[in-house]
């Protein structure tokens, strides 16, 4: 792995849960996850999609590892989720999408997009934890991943690694 910039390290800093609507969220993608000029929906996952927040670092930090030097980075704004607003699905189920700052030791900007249904966080199977993905309606799931695709733009094209913010 390339040297991690000192400012990328968490070093005891706490998570900061304040997100502004204009803040960008970055996610790296494999070169094969371009479908023409559009990000392919296969690149987007919910719930708990990992992203980096622009408040604490540039998109190029996602490509520092040698394995990712030919990959790209997409960006969308926090307001595209949309955060902290209940989204009524078929008029009966209340979902909410929420960005959460989840710093990692070597990646302070790391965050996740959580989904809550009627206030209960939806999580995927993880080891012995069976998760509760059954609470996530497939229709809602596909629609919101497509909404994120439509709201996204490419800030670093595959093979053009850089470190500038959009």
């Amino acid at each position: 792995m390339a040297d991690v910039p000192p400012e990328m390290m968490t070093r005891g800093r706490p998570a900061v849960q304040g997100f502004t609507d204009d803040e960008f969220l970055y996610r790296r993608f494999h070169p094969d996850h371009l479908d023409g000029n559009e990000i392919a929906i296969e690149a987007v996952e919910l719930p708990d999609m990992s992203v980096n927040r622009s408040r604490f670092g540039p998109p190029g930090w996602l490509l520092l590892e040698e394995d990712y030097e030919d990959w790209g980075v997409l960006a969308f704004r926090v307001r595209d989720i949309p955060p902290k607003r209940e989204v009524w699905h078929e008029g009966v189920v209340a979902y909410a999408l929420e960005p959460r700052h989840v710093p990692l030791r070597n990646n302070y900007p790391h965050s996740e997009i959580w989904i809550l249904r009627d206030g209960i966080r939806i999580v995927r199977k993880d080891g012995a934890n069976p998760g509760n993905l059954h609470l996530l309606d497939p229709d809602f799931h596909l629609r919101w991943r497509e909404c994120i695709v439509l709201a996204s733009h490419i800030v670093i094209r595959p093979g053009e690694r850089g470190a500038s913010a959009p």
């Binding site: 993608f29 094969d32 479908d35 023409g36 392919a40 296969e42 394995d67 497939p138 596909l142 497509e146």
Partner: protein, 134 residues
């Protein structure tokens, strides 16, 4: 998708002779490992690969090829047919079920489950054609 990170992707076209390549590409997804997308994506499991293969066979019968075939960050496999400003994306999940997105971008979208039986898959394909070609 090649299992080797960053490897080039072979271009596939709609030529009838490309059918073996579509199937070979799908079979290649069995080699993927958890985290293949640079995050924590599960690898496609036999149930999703088998369901995707059955649907690909229905597409071949109808000589109606996909424009894209790729593993999904959700686990499983996605088959896309894009035409004009529209696309139909069918996602085959690792539990063996499948769901489809019909999208014309900002103009609108809808979804529906995809039947697993051959007759249901053929009926679904007819619906897909009507949406894309209509």
């Amino acid at each position: 998708m090649n299992t080797e990170k960053g490897a080039p992707v072979e271009e596939l076209t709609e030529a009838a002779g490309d059918w073996p390549k579509w199937f070979a590409r799908l079979d290649g997804f069995a080699e993927l490992e958890e985290g293949w997308n640079g995050y924590s994506a599960p690898a496609p499991e036999p149930a999703s690969l088998s369901a995707a293969r059955a649907f690909l066979a229905v597409m071949r019968q109808a000589d109606y090829p996909p424009t894209r075939l790729a593993p999904s960050a959700m686990g499983g496999v996605g088959i896309t047919r894009r035409q004009g400003g529209r696309k139909v994306y069918v996602e085959f999940y690792n539990d063996g079920t499948a769901h489809a997105l019909f999208s014309s971008g900002q103009a609108g979208m809808h979804t529906r489950p995809v039947p697993g039986d051959p007759d249901g898959a053929r009926a679904f394909l007819a619906e897909m054609r009507a949406y894309l070609d209509g």
